[in-house]
């Protein structure tokens, strides 16, 4: 098992915006690791840091045992081709003045691989692999639909045969009807090339569908991490529980269970996060202890970690209001 370890405590950005403030976890080779959280929880920053687009201010990210920050320039350039990222907006990621094939082979050109003809061949191969006809190669981005453009972005990342792909909200800009296609493609490519994915999204239904394990972030910290099914079916952190319940379900009224927990307010500013547990200002189960003490990042069940003083293997602590009503 080639274990990819990413240790990541404390990153203080400019103006000490604590975008990521002490996270540690590891992503295993060949798995799909989902990261969910609200906007402002540090998901995107984390994704960028994972592929060395942002240097960590503290702590380390280890790729397969090596610290990319410690490598020399040329070694680093060789190294980073294994760690690629795909962004949310398929339009912004493609140069409107370059043909599709030029965009797809550009990474190979930068790496100085092969000659022009072999790069071109490889580009066409990859385009076909992601389900685009060879005719698309000579078109420009504006001639393609959103789903096709996202396929192009996947193709250009694949040309480098990376080990790890960070997918930052890759299907958020696509219509539901084609989202399925793109997600199926990701799954096929993973089987074929043994890829490792880090899937960053705010869409719970997407993340729970494709991930092996899910991490829940809130204000730069991890709140919960565990096997996907466990996290979705039996969340342990009050935040995860609330997040899951807020997801609108397209079910007729007689089949819908009303377990909605409406969180008050919005995510606080990362410049001055609350003391103790960061979620306490919105937590329906808050206790005095939460303000004073930062909850430990602990294993509650095997492979299922949570940062809450009161969570147990049976689930999150009860809602204060419900507890009051019961007594």
């Amino acid at each position: 098992m080639r274990d990819l370890r990413i240790l990541f405590p404390t990153r203080d950005g400019r103006d000490t915006v604590k975008a990521i403030d002490g996270m540690d976890f590891e992503v295993c080779a060949g798995e799909t690791f989902g990261i969910i959280g609200e906007s402002g929880s540090g998901k995107t920053t984390l994704g960028r840091a994972l592929v060395s687009l942002l240097p960590p201010s503290h702590g380390k990210i280890l790729h397969d045992g090596t610290d990319p920050a410690a490598l020399g320039i040329s070694a680093f350039r060789k190294h980073r081709r294994d760690y690629q990222i795909i962004f949310q907006d398929p339009n912004a990621a493609l140069n409107p003045r370059m043909t599709i094939i030029d965009s797809v082979v550009e990474p190979l050109e930068i790496m100085g691989e092969g000659d022009h003809a072999s790069r071109h061949r490889r580009g066409i191969e990859v385009l076909e692999r992601v389900g685009l006809a060879a005719e698309a190669a000579d078109r420009y981005p504006h001639q393609l639909s959103g789903g096709q453009k996202q396929r192009v972005n996947i193709a250009r990342v694949l040309t480098l045969r990376p080990k790890v792909i960070v997918c930052d909200e890759v299907v958020a800009a696509l219509d539901v009807s084609i989202r399925g296609d793109v997600l199926n493609l990701f799954a096929d490519l993973q089987r074929e090339f043994g890829l490792t994915y880090v899937f960053i999204t705010h869409d719970i239904s997407v993340v729970s569908h494709i991930s092996d394990r899910i991490a829940v972030t809130y204000l730069g910290k991890l709140m919960e991490l565990g096997p996907a099914e466990d996290v979705v079916e039996h969340p342990l952190h009050p935040y995860t529980r609330a997040l899951l319940s807020a997801e609108p379900v397209p079910l007729p009224s007689h089949l819908r269970v009303d377990r909605r927990i409406i969180l008050e307010g919005e995510i606080p500013s990362p410049v001055a996060p609350p003391s103790g547990c960061r979620f306490r200002t919105r937590c329906p189960s808050v206790q005095p202890r939460c303000a004073n003490e930062v909850p430990a990042w602990r294993d509650v069940k095997p492979g299922h970690r949570v940062a809450c003083h009161f969570a147990t293997a049976d689930g999150p602590p009860p809602d204060n209001q419900k507890a009051q009503r019961a007594s």
Partner: protein
């Protein structure tokens, strides 16, 4: 506030004869008849929507769904005549309380906009003016229609902010849009839209830019305000979950046409148009975890190359000879229509198995 949509029991504020299956004993609030829209381009008129028909009863909450480019936003905009008059051509009737908005003079239209029908948009930051306080902007919306003093306008704005659940409204009233978060801004938009107590609110993707937790707050707010004040709601969205939790009826649009119109619970259980069924089946939450996701093959035909007959034909798995004939909306049962001649015989999967 429960997450359950209640169609059967009308709340006190709502009109007592709420239609139980869409057959309204009272005159509808809004009746859109054969609304067709086209945009003038260098290469001639480009048709965008064709013969859109629907009605909205007073106090009713209707979801308008479909993929991007299906014409839902332009339909919403055309109800308020917010499309550029130089390039947009509107044909058909928009009867609002008996008045045809499609032919109303710009002056009289201004009296309807904001007062009788209001609209909120997806991106609240671009809809708010950054150089005026939110209080100014909300009271402006009121003072355009009612001759009240500045001081009273401010009082009304504060009351409206309180109504939409903004804490410390007296203070927030004097703040500028950039000082508020996304969810707060959307609440400000709702306060502004509802300050004149309009009879109809058109909400165009009001929660798409927001986080799920905030989205839940905003949809709950819209639903409870609509129940309390009797304001009818047209909720334009691509999120079927949001429709299920907010609306009582769902209108599906595809390629510029209405393809299905049905009560929400019925359409989720048994959609009658293959496109609606396809949309429902594409939701990842409904497939087996890590299994293959369903999707609708192909893409929407472009507006200048619309096929004759059923426009969904090229992507439909139920296509047979006969689908190339033009497809009228047919009534399947009381209050349910679909634009598919095979609808009565097809058994299509919905959100539940």
């Amino acid at each position: 506030m429960t997450g359950v949509i209640d169609i059967s029991a009308p709340t006190s504020a709502r009109v007592a004869g709420m239609p139980d299956a869409g057959v309204s004993p009272q005159p509808p609030l809004l009746e859109v008849r054969d609304l067709s829209l086209s945009f003038a381009t260098a290469r001639g008129a480009l048709p965008i929507t064709r013969n859109v028909n629907f009605t909205i009863a007073p106090g009713e909450r209707v979801g308008l769904v479909g993929e991007s480019g299906c014409g839902k936003t332009v339909t919403g905009l055309s109800l308020l005549r917010l499309l550029p008059p130089q390039s947009a051509r509107i044909q058909g009737d928009i009867l609002f309380n008996g008045t045809n908005l499609a032919t109303l003079s710009p002056r009289r239209m201004r009296a309807v906009r904001g007062r009788e029908i209001a609209m909120i948009f997806q991106e609240p930051m671009s809809a708010l003016d950054p150089v005026f306080t939110v209080g100014d902007q909300i009271s402006e919306a009121y003072r355009i229609h009612f001759p009240v003093s500045r001081a009273e306008g401010r009082e009304r704005a504060i009351a409206a902010l309180r109504e939409v659940g903004i804490p410390a409204p007296e203070r927030r009233c004097d703040e500028y849009p950039h000082q508020l978060s996304g969810g707060m801004r959307q609440r400000v938009m709702i306060a502004m839209a509802l300050i004149c107590k309009p009879k109809l609110l058109v909400a165009d993707e009001p929660t798409t830019a927001l986080d799920v937790t905030v989205q839940a707050q905003i949809t709950d707010l819209l639903r409870s305000l609509s129940e309390r004040t009797g304001t009818a709601l047209i909720f334009i969205t691509h999120d079927l979950g949001v429709v299920a939790e907010t609306c009582t009826r769902m209108i599906t649009m595809y390629a510029g046409e209405v393809v299905e119109d049905a009560p929400v619970d019925d359409v989720l259980t048994r959609p009658r148009h293959p496109y609606t069924s396809g949309l429902l089946r594409s939701l990842p939450g409904l497939s087996k975890r890590r299994g293959v996701l369903t999707s609708i093959p192909g893409r929407v035909p472009s507006p200048n190359a619309m096929p004759a007959g059923c426009r969904f034909r090229s992507r439909c798995t139920h296509v047979v000879a006969g689908c190339e004939q033009s497809q009228p909306m047919i009534e399947i049962e009381s209050g349910r229509t679909a634009r598919c001649w095979r609808a009565p015989e097809l058994v299509l999967p919905g959100a539940v198995n």
